[in-house]
Symmetry: C2
Subunit: 205 residues, 2 copies
């Protein structure tokens, strides 16, 4: 599929649509209206129709979306009709939890490399993966095709790790450290920031 | 401030603005244009002006926003000009990491109760907090004013925990378990879902 320029904010909603479609399918549904999908994700039916129409004709007026077909198309659009290898740096609680996280399965990702700088952790196993030395990270990643990394080190180490990742093929970083990292524009960064989620909810309390 | 009906999607952007403003202040800035703020959060200047104008007159044409003043106003709007006590259920890696997470500090939250159902963990300390028995969770929370909880238990326990939380004063749940939980409409739920963030980025790879 040739890509036309789609606003980033719409791309960001596609994973939410996909998650909802998967849950509807798990509940036994085959067809979803834009209204029903909207209720799952908390977005108006009109917005959903507009977003999805950016990518082509996926539903017929009055018949709703075929869930399996739309899910497959969204996976193609998001480039997750394949499995991406992922590296995690920092095997503290969060990194360890991510390594064993069950939520990546069937969603396009597998953790294949894990790093830490602590001598007590290097060489230990987490599931099938041996923890490798962060000092060797650049060389180790460069022997692989890994393009995605998750940073789970303390805040004051995050920028150093990000700088090192720039020497590898990593082009997308999910940062769990509670600090902004500076990288060139060609590297995508997203943040996991629980305080931001909590602040969204306190408005309503 | 009397609340008029503001779209939820705008409320959800305010924590991002606040985070950016705090970072600008930490960098020594006192004034921000909507364009500069927009670049920090990846949203257009026009959208930012529109969002912020929903809550009143915060900037003068041509002079930009006073960062300290706007930050304070956003904290008031989001009800985080105070500290909220938070309970965490599940002291596996993720829950343990959240308990010690430094990113809540100065952002309106403190973890005051932690629970697990494992006899090996109950009674142990994480920092100053003793891990309490999930079996006593309802009674324990009901002795406090806790309105916010984070669920960090395995996916197949998340709904049970959510059901128990309904018997307490908890009105906002941040769910780390990779599964949707069903709660009444008066309970807010947000999800931390790393796969969703990764899928957003793979579009660009």
């Amino acid at each position: 599929m040739e890509k036309k320029k789609i606003p980033d904010i719409i791309i960001g909603r596609l994973p939410l649509y996909l998650r909802a479609l998967n849950r509807m399918a798990a509940n036994g549904s085959a067809i979803s209206s834009s209204k029903e999908l909207g209720e799952w994700v908390g977005i108006s039916a009109a917005q959903i129709r507009k977003d999805i129409s950016q990518f082509g004709e996926f539903g017929k007026q009055g018949t709703g979306y075929n869930i399996e077909f739309l899910s497959r198309k969204i996976r193609e659009i998001l480039n997750i009709d394949r499995i991406w290898d992922v590296a995690i740096i920092g095997m503290g609680d969060i990194g360890h939890g991510l390594t064993e996280y069950q939520g990546f399965r069937n969603r396009g990702f597998q953790v294949t490399l894990v790093f830490d700088n602590s001598p007590e952790k290097i060489g230990t196993k987490i599931g099938d993966l041996a923890v490798q030395d962060t000092a060797d990270m650049v060389d180790t990643i460069n022997k692989t095709d890994v393009k995605i990394a998750m940073i789970a080190v303390p805040a004051d180490h995050a920028q150093t790790v990000a700088d090192e990742l720039l020497k590898t093929g990593v082009k997308a970083i999910l940062n769990y450290a509670p600090i902004r990292i500076n990288v060139p524009d060609n590297i995508r960064v997203q943040y996991i920031d629980p305080a931001t989620h909590l602040q969204w909810m306190t408005y309503y309390l």
